[in-house]
Symmetry: C2
Subunit: 197 residues, 2 copies
Amino acid sequence: MTHGTRPKLLEAAFREVYERGFQAASLTEILRDTGLTKGALYHHFSCKRALGLAVVEEVVRERLESTIFRPLEEAERPIAALLKIWGDKLRLLDDDAIEHGCPLNNLIQEMSPIDPEFRTRLGAILTRWQEVLAQALRTGQVQQEIRADVNCDTTALFILAAWEGCWGIAKNQQSAPAFRQCLAQLQAYVESLRPRS
Amino acid sequence: MTHGTRPKLLEAAFREVYERGFQAASLTEILRDTGLTKGALYHHFSCKRALGLAVVEEVVRERLESTIFRPLEEAERPIAALLKIWGDKLRLLDDDAIEHGCPLNNLIQEMSPIDPEFRTRLGAILTRWQEVLAQALRTGQVQQEIRADVNCDTTALFILAAWEGCWGIAKNQQSAPAFRQCLAQLQAYVESLRPRS
DNA sequence: ACGCGGTCGTACCGACCGGTATGATAAACA
DNA sequence: TGTTTATCATACCGGTCGGTACGACCGCGT
C-alpha cells in the first residue's frame, strides 16, 4: 500500500533532507510532519542513516527514473526529448526548486566526502544518468542529429556536470532568470553538437 | 601580523568547514587544532556565524583573488591564461581537492538556502568571478581568439556553472581522471568559441 | 478464548553543541 | 608604579540530537 506509514516517513524525510540536508535533518521534525513517533520510525528503519539511504534509493532515484531516465530511454527522438525535458523543467520551475536546487546534487555535495555508502549509491544514480544521456547521444548520432565525431560518454558526463552546475548557480542567485540564462547556454552547447548544416 | 591568533583561527576554521561543512563544523575541533580555547575564539568573533562569514571573506575570497581573479585580470592574453590556470589546477590536483571539492561551491550549496547573509557574500564572489571571466572573453574577442558573436556575460556564467559542476562530479566519483575528463570537455567548449579557422 | 508477532506510542538517556560568565595574565599608558 | 584594557583560559549552562527501553494495541491463527 502506498498510504502506509513507511512511505509517509520516506516522503517527509525527503522533504526534510531536501530543505536542510541530511546531517541537519531532524528526525523530530520528520515525525512532527507525519504525526508519527519514534517508535514507528525505528520500527521501519534501523537508524537515521538507513532512513537517508532509503530516501536516496526509493525517492530520489525513483523520481529521476520516472521523470528523466525512462522518458529519455523510451523516446524515439532522444535529442528532441532531452530538449523537451529541459524545457518542461524550465516552464514548471517553482520557487521551491530554485531555492533548494537539485536533490541529487545536494546529497552528492554533502555526503560524498563523509560517507562511502551514500557516495556509492549516489554515484550509481549518476552513472545511470550518464549512460542514459550517452545512449541518447548515440541514437542521436544515427539519426544524424549529433555529429559522428563527438565522444558520447564524455559529452554525457559534461552535460551532467553543467546541468548540476546550473542548478548550483541558480540556488545562490535565487532567480529563475539566472537559471534560464544558464540553461540556455547548455542548450546552445547541445545545439553546437549538431552536424554543420 | 599573520601569525596572530585570529589568522590561526581563520585558517583552522576554513579547514574544518571545508571538510565538514559549516553547520557540522565543530568549534571544539577548531580549538583543538589551534591549541586555543573558547575564550580566544569568542574574543575575536561574536558567534559561529561571524566566524564563518569571516572565513568566506578573508580566506575563500582571498584565495580565489590571488589564484584566479587577479592572474586572469593581469594577463595579457586572458584566454591562454584561463586555459593555463585550468591546466595548473589539473597538474597540482591533490587527493584533498578531489575528496572535498571546491570550497566556494560547497558553501554555496549548503548555506545559500538557509542564510541570506552567506548567500549574499558568496553571491558577490560568484559575480566577481563571472565578471572576471566575461572580461577575459571580451579581450579575447578583440584579440580575435573568441568569436565576436558570443555573449560574453552569459558564456561566463555557463563556464562558471560547468566548472563547479565538474568539481561536483569529481567529488562523488573520487577520481582525478573523472575530473580531467570532465574538465577536458570544458576546455573543448572554450576552444569551440574560437573563430572558424 | 488465548497467545503471539507485527506495529506503533511514550518516556527517557547520554552525548554533544554553541554560547556565557568569570578569572588570570600581560601589555600599554598615565 | 598603579591602573586600565586587550587577550586568552576555565568551567559550566541550556538545549537539541540520535537512539533505546518498554508498554499498548490489534489482527490472526488455533
